[in-house]
């Protein structure tokens, strides 16, 4: 089995060179594929959340619609699609309509760059990590616009909370993410997965990986507005927060984006710290690694992502919500210093090569000089 990753885009690029119409076929296929993937995944996540919540709470959850309630999310989706769509009087109509689309788009743009398996990645960008971090920020624009345009003070309050919260926690998420980038020596998501061929960063990095993992889980939970950081829509405080005035299809977009963001965070955690689709390899133990390879990489990825999703759901159904100033204090006074310290510690580890199974391609090799520069590498 070849684990050499190859994104859909790179495979198609070869085909496009031969047959130009393949470009259109690639576009159409990826649009349909991503749409189907997103829909099915959203329904599964919604069903899983309701069922898991129910079992945490000593009840059975959806049970009557389809066997064990499996069609519950389908019924909800169809109902939401056909529900009346209200734009309140006094709302900024254009922004009101645009906001859920932006929120949804940010999430979909993240998903196309995620390596779900060695051959299951739509686009494999060189700067995948930066790209995901950047487009994930689109979601907050959607939330801010939605709250602003709704002409409702509760919405506005929710949106402002979300804005402050997501932008703050983005910092910690970045710092945690940089640790994995440092160890892997690349910004390419598939490269990061490959760099974990001899072990996942969470255990290979002498503590720095664990700290970064925990940081990223906390900051990620905050970025997707889930309990204990669900201040943006905190039901008991702001009725429904930024989406108070949304109904029908547009609310469904927010709702779906919220659940798929859960997957995006879980997938990022998996990719950066849990080896992505990489089986549990340990160094050069060939027998062990071969045994681990028996499970296909897609299953490895799904299993790890599901475990992280379950962890986040566990948070949600256990913890109460933080207060808005406590939330900020946690970020700026606790997580951020820890993140910085951890980053420097990790940098030290990388430079000294003092971690399990250091790769040969560590940044000790000199970088190639850019074209046109003097060959001795000195700046002109």
């Amino acid at each position: 089995m070849s684990l050499e990753p190859q994104s859909l885009a790179s495979r198609t690029a070869a085909a496009v060179d031969a047959e130009p119409w393949m470009a259109i076929a690639f576009l159409a296929a990826s649009v349909v594929g991503v749409a189907a993937f997103v829909t099915v995944l959203g329904l599964v996540l919604i069903y899983a959340e309701r069922k898991i919540a129910a079992h945490f709470q000593c009840r059975v959850g959806p049970y009557r619609v389809g066997p064990h309630g499996t069609l519950q999310a389908v019924a909800d989706a169809i109902k939401l699609l056909l529900k009346e769509d209200v734009v309140p009087a006094g709302a900024d109509r254009l922004l009101h309509i645009l906001a859920p689309v932006l929120s949804f788009a940010g999430m979909v743009l993240c998903i196309v760059a995620l390596p779900l398996g060695p051959h299951a990645q739509v686009v494999d960008l060189d700067i995948g990590v930066l790209y995901v971090a950047a487009v994930a920020g689109l979601g907050v624009i959607g939330i801010l616009l939605g709250g602003w345009s709704s002409h409702n003070k509760w919405s506005l309050l929710g949106a402002m909370r979300a804005g402050a919260q997501i932008i703050s926690y983005e910092l910690s998420a970045m710092l945690a993410l940089l640790v994995a980038v440092l160890f892997s020596g690349t910004l390419q998501l598939s490269g990061i997965v490959l760099a974990q061929q001899e072990g996942w960063w969470i255990w290979r990095a002498h503590g720095a990986g664990v700290v970064a993992f925990a940081l990223f889980v906390v900051a990620g939970t905050a970025e997707i507005n889930r309990t204990p950081f669900d201040l943006a829509e905190g039901e008991s405080e702001l009725t429904a927060g930024f989406h108070t005035e949304y109904s029908g299809l547009r609310f469904a977009f927010f709702f779906l984006a919220e659940f798929l963001n859960l997957f995006v965070v879980a997938a990022m955690v998996t990719t950066l710290f849990l080896g992505g689709w990489m089986p549990l390899h340990i160094g050069q133990w060939a027998a062990w690694n071969a045994a681990m390879d028996l499970l296909p990489p897609g299953l490895w990825f799904a299993g790890k992502a599901a475990a992280v999703v379950f962890l986040l759901m566990w948070f949600r159904w256990t913890f109460p919500r933080l207060r808005v100033d406590q939330l900020m204090r946690l970020e700026w006074k606790v997580l951020l210093p820890i993140g910085f310290a951890n980053l420097f510690f990790a940098a030290g580890l990388v430079v000294s090569g003092w971690y399990f199974f250091p790769t040969d391609a560590a940044p000790t090799a000199p970088l190639p000089a850019p074209a046109g520069w003097p060959s001795d590498g000195a700046a002109p």
Binding site: R59, G61, A75, K83, E84, T244
Partner: protein, 223 residues
């Protein structure tokens, strides 16, 4: 309602087989609406504890029917459960809440207060005599307050009403709740016959039996 639902019947019906297709679509749509009744978190009085909280809680678990997603915003809710007394000051707010809900929306009135004013019917200067004086109600669940099981039955009745009720071609057509509430295999005529039999039975007096019952009561009183 939506762009699609408004224009779909007009576009489909002229086509060959369009009617059958429309019926199939109707069934799917009504199935989804019936099985995804998200209630509004709204309770005014005692009924809120029984029908909103106890029914949603672990033992009775409204989630089994897909109705546990309580939305605090009326825009996202499908079902308004009027749980408790409605007074004059609240009536305009209730109306506003109902108007803010997006179509299709359904209303269940629970408890005597929301049905008729209940214990506060007489000598009260504020109590509205039934929430249906303010907004249209689909299903009434009696009780003071109703047991959670009663609300579940009300919910199932509403689901039946939705499944058998309005179609895309004829929106707004509502199946009457009395018919929807009947168990399977029973028609309104059966009920009428049963009532007639009961009336007949109570109207006929068996003098001998009545005398025996009276004697038994008299004996009890002496003891």
């Amino acid at each position: 309602m939506g762009l699609v639902t408004d224009h779909l019947p007009g576009a489909l019906l002229p086509l060959p087989g369009g009617g059958a297709l429309l019926t199939a679509i109707d069934q799917v749509v009504n199935w989804s609406r019936a099985n995804s009744l998200w209630p509004l978190t709204f309770g005014t009085s005692c009924c809120a504890i029984e029908v909103m909280m106890a029914t949603g809680a672990a033992r009775h678990d409204l989630a089994r029917f897909g109705a546990e997603v309580a939305r605090p915003s009326p825009r996202q809710a499908d079902l308004l459960i009027i749980a408790g007394t409605i007074v004059k000051k609240m009536a305009p707010r209730l109306r506003t809440l109902w108007e803010q809900m997006a179509e299709p929306r359904y209303v269940i009135a629970t408890g005597s207060c929301a049905i008729s004013g209940g214990p506060f019917l007489y000598h009260s200067y504020t109590t509205i005599r039934g929430a249906d004086e303010v907004i249209p109600v689909d299903v009434y669940v009696p009780g003071c307050p109703p047991r959670p099981e009663a609300l579940l039955y009300g919910l199932l009745t509403l689901q039946k009403m939705i499944r058998e009720g309005s179609t895309l071609a004829r929106p707004g057509q509502v199946r009457r709740p009395v018919l929807a509430a009947l168990p399977d295999g029973m028609t309104l005529d059966d009920v009428r016959a049963e009532i007639a039999a009961l009336v007949q039975e109570t109207a006929t007096v068996d003098r001998k039996a009545a005398a025996a019952v009276g004697a038994a009561f008299a004996a009890q009183d002496r003891v």
